[in-house]
Symmetry: C2
Subunit: 700 residues, 2 copies
């Protein structure tokens, strides 16, 4: 393998003839090299000779070292597991089928280890991954032979000291991202992919999806109902029936249900509501451009729809013109792009052939990237940001303004997916769809509010936020909390974009929550001596970090108590500011109306007044800045126009929020000013020092 240091702490290794079409080229990812440089220099994180590559049988065999206590994270959108060491996966874009076996919506070939570095395999092929499960005869740490007849220590999973990956191509590019922390490795990976997206401000508001056969009057009526009842709403999604034909699609408005889409869009705009359109990419013979696009279809159809080979520029040009003209120019705000993931029996088979000459496998692995890239460009052309939904992504797609969703609906697994999304440069929505009980509805809604997209995907169930009267007020309060926290969320996404820090991420990426403590304390500790240690040996797959300083520990329907593992350092209750613990496992009692959230010592949460819609361009909002705990705090407050890509040309502001204790023992908060040319939508600023509040809840 030939290594090249392409940025501070980032190396590209090449073996054999790496394929030209790969995840990074499909996504056309542009590294943010200046931002990577700001993370500083770092040495190559392992012995280079311990990374081995061989070309055999037309394939590339890769081997990466693992130390004895090293844990492995990542490999994309897994729903059940956080610890990946010991697992076998075939990374293959697909609907999630209930098992973390590599078949998922975004099987990103990127992993980070507790030794503080990351590895990315830049291949658009199905990859067979043995993440510490094979034992080599020539290993320096070989598995030990034991007699199963008589030795009770015999195990069916002998020790393995390597991650091994089979790449079915005659060469590949491998990227290594240094830390020294796992978070820094993830940041480098994200920035190398261009950094995360900054959604338009409305994208962080609330969204609802309506029945597939709603007409434009029904859509407007639904919007009015939200307003009348006082529930926030920022964008609303139409399902397939907006089209004259769907599955396969004409991409043309159905004239009976939507006789005047431009007027609908205008009316919605007046109400500060953006419109999102469902599509899947497959072309009906009745689509206006069907014949024109004929040279660019794949050999096989999807539900009788032609599959455009979107890797071909000419095909892109023809294909997206209808979207541009009939949707984006009139003002549609975004898409929900369905069925770019699987199942095998729905999508094109691996024997399909494409005019580009790419293998079906390569298009399967990258189709989600292609549609995200190309559809978001339509909005970029108009200097408008979008924020949509997509069903498949992959490595390279970090910067796309799309959130992944699916049909699966296990609430706990949704949270595990949210946690895993942060390891792999993904955004995931644990959408609320329907519920058996009011309690479940509220519990699901609470996690939706602490996620990248606050969505009710109720097109099938027709559920509204107020559908369960017994929790309708609690739901409204949660929805308004989402709106209040908009400055916090917006800055968290800006950190994702500019620094590569995932807005929603695993505890393992948090300082003070080091998996390495295992190594140090394992030998002597027992559950009684160190329950914290015991807890982190288990997978923590039900609590996560949201933004710079919040720890979210969801309650699931039917639960009344839960354990929360607090990283080292002091932690405080989000609602009351009360101290709850430090580097320990606490047990909390659930309140129905609250999702447990904890703030780290010195944590700052800037809030605005609740509004039913996100502030528009140049709309001022007042700030209430909360500070938690005993330590001074600081928070980087981001702002821009909330709607355009002008921030890419420097039209944004960062303001330093600082809270310190003065010599008289009183807290004092300051916020830096910005220059006249910099966007700043903040009006009045008030301060709340939670340590002085004695259990009041200023979030109400």
């Amino acid at each position: 393998m030939i290594w090249e240091n392409i940025a501070p702490g980032v190396w590209k290794g090449t073996v054999g003839e790496a394929e030209e079409y790969n995840l990074l080229t499909a996504a056309a990812a542009k590294p943010n090299l200046p931002a990577i440089s700001r993370l500083g220099q770092a040495p190559f994180p392992v012995e280079k000779t311990e990374i081995k590559a061989k070309l055999l049988d037309g394939k590339t065999y890769l081997q990466f070292p693992l130390e004895r206590e090293e844990q492995v994270f990542g490999f994309g959108l897994n729903f059940k597991t956080i610890h990946q060491r010991g697992r076998i996966m075939r990374l293959h874009v697909d609907h999630y089928g209930g098992q973390d076996n590599g078949r998922t919506h975004a099987p990103v070939p990127f992993y980070v280890t507790s030794n503080g570095y990351g590895v990315f395999i830049n291949s658009s092929r199905y990859l067979d991954v043995y993440a510490g499960s094979g034992s080599r005869l020539d290993s320096e740490n070989p598995a030990e032979a034991m007699d199963r007849n008589t030795n009770p220590d015999w195990t069916a999973s002998p020790y393995s000291d390597a991650v091994e990956i089979l790449v079915p191509a005659k060469g590949v590019e491998v990227y290594v991202f240094a830390g020294p922390s796992m978070l820094e490795a993830v940041q480098r990976f994200n920035l190398f992919n261009g950094g995360g997206p900054i959604p338009p401000r409305w994208g962080l508001g609330f969204t609802q999806r309506v029945h597939r056969l709603f007409d434009q009057d029904q859509v407007l009526a639904e919007v009015n109902e939200f307003e009348e009842k006082g529930y926030p709403l920022d964008f609303i999604g139409l399902e397939p029936g907006w089209q004259s034909k769907s599955y396969p699609n004409t991409f043309a408005w159905d004239e009976s249900r939507f006789p005047d889409p431009e007027k609908l869009i205008q009316k919605l705009k007046e109400k500060h509501i953006s419109l999102n359109l469902w599509i899947n990419p497959y072309v009906s013979p009745e689509a206006s451009f069907y014949e024109k696009l004929k040279p660019y279809y794949g050999s096989h159809t999807v539900w009788a729809g032609a599959v455009p080979d979107l890797s071909i520029p000419e095909a892109q040009k023809i294909y997206w013109e209808t979207f541009r003209k009939d949707h984006v120019l009139p003002g549609v705000g975004g898409y929900k792009i369905d069925e770019v993931d699987g199942y095998d029996r729905w999508l094109w088979p691996d024997v399909a052939q494409f005019p580009s000459g790419l293998a079906a496998e390569q298009l399967r692995q990258t189709y989600g990237l292609l549609v995200q890239k190309q559809s978001s460009e339509l909005f970029r052309e108009q200097n408008r940001r979008t924020y949509g939904l997509v069903r498949a992504s992959n490595g390279g797609g970090v910067s796309f303004p799309y959130v992944i969703y699916n049909d699966y609906y296990d609430h706990k697994d949704f949270i595990t997916a949210l946690i895993n999304s942060g390891f792999s440069g993904l955004l995931w929505t644990p959408e609320a769809r329907a519920s058996k009980t009011a309690e479940e509805w509220l519990r699901r809604f609470q996690t939706v509010v602490f996620s990248p997209m606050a969505m009710i995907n109720a097109w099938a169930s027709g559920t509204k936020p107020w559908s369960y009267p017994e929790v309708a007020e609690e739901i409204k309060e949660m929805a308004l909390l989402r709106m209040k926290m908009m400055p916090y969320w917006y800055s968290s996404f800006a950190l994702y974009h500019f620094k590569g820090i995932p807005p929603f991420r695993a505890m393992q990426l948090e300082k003070g929550f080091s998996i390495k403590t295992e190594k140090q304390t394992n030998a002597t500790s027992t559950l009684e001596e160190n329950p914290y240690n015991e807890a982190i040996k288990k997978e923590i797959n039900d609590q996560y970090m949201a933004g710079p300083s919040l720890l979210v520990a969801p309650i699931f329907a039917g639960e009344e108590v839960r354990k929360v593992v607090l990283p080292k350092g002091k932690w405080y209750d989000f609602y009351t500011g009360k101290y709850v613990g430090d580097g320990e496992v606490i047990t909390i009692n659930a309140r129905l109306d609250q999702i447990p959230v904890f703030v780290k010592d010195g944590g700052i949460v800037p809030l605005m007044e609740p509004m039913l819609h996100a502030p528009g361009k140049n709309q001022l909002y007042d700030l209430k800045i909360l500070h938690y705990g005993e330590s001074p705090g600081q928070f980087p407050l981001y702002d821009d126009d909330g709607i355009s890509y002008d921030y890419e040309n420097g039209h944004y502001s960062w303001r330093d929020i600082n809270v310190i204790k003065e010599s008289n023992g009183k807290w004092k908060g300051t916020i830096s000013t910005v220059g006249a040319q910099k966007p700043n939508n903040v009006g009045k600023v008030t301060w709340v020092f939670m340590s002085e509040k004695e259990g009041q809840n200023p979030l109400k």
Copy 2:
């Protein structure tokens, strides 16, 4: 594709550079060309131009036609499905994981269609099969685009007119086997693989497996208990503890538990009991030949055991010497060969490398073939037949004297597997292991008796045939029925060997049970008009043919009635000879002590007196020949010495059993004589014409 007619009704197609190592070379299968010729000439069963092959992306893309009502069967040991059309599989040797997705113990790349021909892909690679699930844009029968919004006929599984297979190699051999019936296509396939095995006669007797830590005295005690209680027993199996070390294995007798294995074998021989030894193939560092075999190990271990590259002749020589010397020469009768199937986390990974240069994938697909071939050769050298158990097989392995088993334990699925085994040249045992109730024990035992190996695999549970006192007598009667039917079973296996007719097989292979009736009657029939038609549109996965004329319809625990689909022609109750129906669906009431079995009109079942052990060489047995129904019948009775391979040199006999109605209206049976040089162990012959018995049960 270049086609070559290599035998009457058999064509070999070659595309690209077919790999030298394939299923047929791994198995060293020797076609029985004279037997194929006896099936007669037949035209190529489809338009040759409709079979398409392309080389792309280093792989071979295959396409085979399907007509509108054509059904597809086969693809190896599936446990839940009989109809394969519409399914997607990745054929990959593995433990069965609960889904028919191609991961199974014997994912044979062979299918037959209801149009009466078979296709075999002779590849040792993982094959991606789309058995009528992909829709091509250029198809002459394309899937129809429908509007999902408004058309209730919209389907997520549009029409597909082809079987498509992706072979990850730059070429492949394809074989086509003509019918005109499906059974004849299967016969040709089996004969092309060398025909089925004829087990030693003891192999068709009863077998029990004992606890893994039993010592030789306990083994003898178990044998004595069978004898004392009057339950038949022909061979007994030892689990891993017979070895000094296991998982990985020394293949050496454990001296504490087995101080004198030769004496044990001798004592068992005196009691007419053969000994079977569990192994898995992976070598302990403490095996005597470990160092000598070192140049021939794969890169990765299995449970810390070295994996011999058994594709290499030198490795074979070293490896099997211990087996020859320490097991086979002293008189061991066979092996149970474990863990040659999966799971991925247990076996070598696909990144493993082997000294032969074969890919890990190729050895995974063929390791079961290699161990069957090479271990059975040890017995052949001694001119002794063996009959053992193995956990993996594949195409090419038809002739090996091994029955597949696994850890799965769903009784219904076991029967579906038994049915499917007959499509793919496999033998499968629905072994009884343990049961929750006496009823379940009896029901499982009843199907074991009508299967290729009558086994209780009770090493873990310790269950004995008599363990449930309330059904102990019924079990004994079933076990003795197995013994009585030995002439019938033995002849059925001879038909497998000489004619390629599977002894256990699907209803679809039976005349009068034509899937094609669907096509003819579909348009007009309703459930009321033609329930038979309705029944065969469903998958019939719970009844099967055993030998020339028996239809077995198992009852599962908890059931008291069941439906049985009778092929066209008259059918009779096995136990009473009573007429039950003709080409219709009947509903039967279950008796606890009987497994429902039906005999076709004119069917003949030769029985012997019940014995506790199969007749030995030259041991005479008397025949009671049962005839059923109104039509004349004939049965080819096979005989040989029951123990050696001398039948390959002509030392066998076929005797024609004929039953006709004489002019006086009386039945008359005749049996042809054999020459002096031909083996014939039949003593007295008596005749039972069931139509004259008026409901008596001569099987008691």
